[in-house]
């Protein structure tokens, strides 16, 4: 059983870590583009900001769902 718990712990770490890498790269690409775009056309800033927040929420979603599932695995196995 300890072996299984250890594997589950590793899996949870991987789920969270890989999801976090993806979400961070996505957010940073989008944030960078947003800053570039609003430096080029400052009058579009407010309009773009709303869209950026929506996309930030969409990008975050997969990572957050992964984190939720990983923590659920954790508390139903080795944290129990």
């Amino acid at each position: 059983m300890e072996q299984v718990f250890g594997n589950v712990a590793l899996a949870c770490g991987l789920i969270i870590a890989l999801g976090a890498i993806g979400a961070c790269i996505g957010i940073s690409l989008m944030g960078g583009k947003y800053l570039e775009a609003s430096a080029r056309q400052p009058e579009l800033m407010n309009e773009l900001q709303v869209k950026m927040f929506i996309l930030a929420g969409l990008i975050d979603a997969a990572f957050i769902i992964g984190t939720g599932i990983a923590v659920w695995f954790a508390i139903s196995t080795f944290l129990k």
Binding site: I54, G57, D60, I64, I65, K80
Partner: protein, 289 residues
Amino acid sequence: MSTGHEAATNAPNAGEYVLHHLGNLNSSGHPQTTMVDFSIINYDTVFFSVVLGALGLFFLWRVARRATSGVPGRAQAALEILIEMVGNQAKAIVHNEQSRKFVAPLALTVFVWVFLMNSMDFLPVDLLPFLWQTITGNPHAYLRVVPTADLNGTLGLSVGVLLLCFFYNIKIKGLGGWIHELFTAPFGNHPLLYLPNFVMQIIEFTAKTVSHGMRLFGNMYAGELLFLLIALMGMAFPSMSPLGGSLLWIGHLITGTLWALFHIFIVVLQAFIFMMLTLVYLGQAHESH
């Protein structure tokens, strides 16, 4: 696993504490063990969502009744900003004057309702469960206060949006037109492509609905879990040395405050995204290929 917490004699360990907090007050009396069980009703989710919905409606109604064309009060000004924001988004996404009379207020209701349900996360995680356990006299009573951290709640909302999508598809395109679209979009009108088209449409509707509900649920569930883990950090102090324990206790105050502040952002953002996706999906139902 089934032992609760708050028992004075033996404190629960970390897993028991978290698991107990993730158990719903449902019609079976103990946490759900299977993934899918339609015979169980989560009373707490139903109760809190209905009460919060009624509260939101009452607040909006009261402000609307007192609305004046003179100098607006603070509540009226805030609501005007909100309604204008939702109205602009609806105008940009749903290009149909007639349906907008229903869709725009729907989006406003969804936003306010989801925001209020998400906001239950700001209450201390143990406050309402502890009150409930005191009232019922059962130290192991279950209660979850965030309706959107329950998958049933969020999927209920997204299935409601799906049904409205069906309704508008049929209303705008006619039943025949919609069935025609189901079999001819997205690949094209050819007898060989009818089946792939239909399968793609089914996948599209399923993916839209599931991701719509799962996105809100995942955010709120992860947020709730983090609040629980932070609370655990504060609870650990009796079992440790005075110095380590007090450091942990201070740490739980700091991290709890920081996460609560960040969570304000998530709560508003997720309510906004849920509203936007509702509008986008209903807008798609108005577009013919």
